[in-house]
């Protein structure tokens, strides 16, 4: 188990809560994280610097967009209400911004898994012309000339010369701390609460029909699958754009089912607005096309997953136990 305890001076009488910092702690029932903490141990100074950077508009070319603009805490770190996320000069991307909750367990990043290392991930949105539209060299220059940042980097990494690596590692230190493990489901896993009868039945249905891909407790197996959506107007072939393998056409990363209440709309392009809509898609909307996931072909009569109406209701009740309000309100993760 990887636990980094960072105990500061508890002597300060005022605001004890600020005076110590418990670094990354793996919830007991979670698997081992994939992030390589040995290369970037989370410290209080590194985390706080990362948080400041995450919420700083300075990371975009005209200083209007921050990471937090499209990864909004009150939307569980996604972009609420937008099918596809909009960036600098109100330009639209072609995908819905994914949540960064539990990103320390991510095996790859982006809907197509194009980035295999969290430390490299921020370069993509910062330099994307439709997201933050800047160059990394310019961002580093702005930080180096800033009144506060050189001193903050010195505090966190021992040098006020702001390097690419330290900039990216600070952002990672903030992101890996965005852990979602305070939903009702988590309380049940910790034996601190119990499901209602309907939620418990929903959980059983979930384990039968959903858990193969949306594997608990992270509610994703991090794989890439084609789930029978029709090709969108952007002709987005997903994972194929990365691997150029025919067998990857139409495949996208399986998203977590945590915090669905706050993260609508759903799917890589935000085409479905409600959970009922998502279940209806799996029941009757599957487009049988190249690379359709075999798990959606188990029903001999029709592609998809069959739900009785009352099963859908119970399943949704269970899915609602995955909403983690604490993640949305945790001051430690908020813009200060």
């Amino acid at each position: 188990m990887i636990v980094f305890l960072f105990a500061g001076v508890v002597a300060c009488k005022k605001e004890v809560i600020d005076s110590y910092f418990i670094g990354f702690q793996k919830p007991a029932y979670f698997p081992e994280p994939t992030y390589r903490f040995e290369n970037n141990p989370v410290t209080k100074d590194g985390f706080e610097l990362g948080r400041k950077l995450f919420y700083d508009n300075l990371l975009s070319s005209n200083n209007t967009i921050s990471c937090g603009s499209c990864h909004i805490q009150t939307s569980a770190f996604t972009h609420h209400g937008h099918k596809t996320s909009h960036g600098i000069f109100d330009q639209l991307g072609i995908r819905n911004s994914p949540s960064i909750a539990n990103i320390a367990w991510g095996k790859s990043f982006m809907w197509d898994g194009g980035v295999p290392d969290l430390d490299l991930q921020p370069i993509a949105p910062i330099t994307s012309p439709v997201e933050m539209g800047d160059t990394m060299a310019n961002v580093l220059r702005k930080l180096q000339n800033h009144q506060q940042y050189p001193a903050l980097f010195k505090k966190a990494f021992g040098s006020d010369n702001i390097s690419t690596a330290n900039f990216l590692k600070a952002l990672s230190q903030f992101m890996v701390m965005c852990i979602s493990n305070n939903s009702k489901y988590d309380s049940v896993m910790r034996n601190e609460a119990s499901f209602t009868a309907d939620e418990a039945e929903g959980y059983t249905i979930f384990k039968q029909k959903c858990n193969d891909c949306h594997k608990e407790p992270l509610f994703t197996d991090e794989s890439f699958r084609s789930n029978g959506l029709t090709l969108n107007a952007a002709n987005d072939l997903g994972r194929y754009f990365i691997t150029l393998n025919e067998s990857d056409k139409f495949k996208f990363k399986v998203p977590s089912l945590r915090n669905l209440e706050y993260t609508t709309p759903y799917m890589h392009d935000g085409r479905i607005y409600t959970l009922e809509g998502v279940l209806n898609h799996y029941q009757t909307g599957i487009e049988p096309r190249q690379n359709l996931d075999p798990l959606l072909l188990q029903d001999p009569v029709r592609a998809g997953i069959r739900f009785l109406p009352e099963e859908k209701t119970k399943l949704i009740q269970f899915l609602n136990t995955l909403n983690d309000r604490y993640l949305l309100t945790n001051k430690m993760l908020s813009e200060q």
Partner: protein
């Protein structure tokens, strides 16, 4: 690690042993390191390459100019006339050749004294370095610094070879070849990492000594990029980036490099 390390030690040991061997002329002290510069002289057929202003004709007969030409050279290895191989330590062995920056045209490696019969290098960046921690991507490999123009952030990996320019043969008026792909991290993809070996015996072996400087002069003929192994036209392929056709271009550009002469 051990597997890599032991042969490295063995090579050093053998080379040290050669010092006493009669095969190696006594003027070389293989325990001493000396500088060897490798010049990458970019040309288009018989003409020196002039960025933007030069007009060239490819094997298909299309005229074009070149506004940008950049490529990585890495993992340099030299074999001496006794057949001993010396691998330049990897960390000091990533070079970005940029036609617009003369300072990059002649990378220098430090190798044991001796006479060398062949030169091996990778065009591009090896797979392993493509997956390294950000702290080990410095200098020309800094994806936000010197390497920013040679890195795909959205499909994380280095662009090994980049050539851009204008041509009336292209419907868009210009062409762009950005060739990368290192084989993938979790899913196998095209692997365009190419390693080539160039014979140095017919055009003059470098005799490397710490008391002098030695230069191996390579010609890099960009016309071969169009037909080194199979011919293609700008009209048919004005833009190739993350594309299956990138493998053809990567095969072609392995034929661009030839040894012209050695300055001993």
């Amino acid at each position: 690690m051990k597997k890599i390390f032991i042969p490295a030690i063995a090579v050093v040991c053998i080379m040290t042993a050669c010092k006493k061997d009669n095969n190696m002329p006594s003027e070389y002290d293989s325990s001493k390191k000396a500088a060897l510069s490798i010049e990458f002289d970019n040309v288009a057929g018989a003409s020196d390459l002039a960025l933007t202003t030069g007009s060239y004709t490819n094997p298909t007969g299309e005229t074009f100019n070149v506004t940008k030409l950049k490529y990585y050279i890495s993992n340099v290895k030299l074999t001496n006339t006794n057949g001993m191989e010396y691998v330049v330590p990897q960390d000091s062995c990533y070079f970005l050749i940029d036609e617009s920056d003369e300072d990059t045209h002649e990378p220098v490696v430090r190798i044991p004294e001796g006479e060398y019969k062949s030169l091996t290098f990778t065009i591009g960046v090896d797979s392993l370095r493509n997956t390294k921690d950000i702290s080990q991507r410095t200098g020309v490999l800094d994806p936000t610094g010197a390497g920013a123009d040679m890195y795909w952030s959205w499909n994380s990996g280095y662009i090994f070879f980049k050539m851009e320019g204008q041509s009336a043969a292209s419907a868009m008026g210009d062409y762009q070849y950005h060739i990368g792909l290192y084989g993938g991290m979790s899913t196998a993809t095209i692997n365009n990492v190419k390693t080539i070996t160039i014979d140095l015996t017919s055009r003059g072996t470098p005799k490397v000594k710490s008391t002098k400087s030695t230069n191996v002069h390579l010609m890099v003929d960009i016309l071969k990029m169009f037909n080194g192994t199979s011919n293609f036209s700008i009209a048919a392929r004005p833009m190739v980036m993350v594309d299956p056709f990138s493998a053809t271009i990567a095969d072609n550009y392995t034929k661009m490099f030839s040894h012209d002469h050695t300055e001993n």
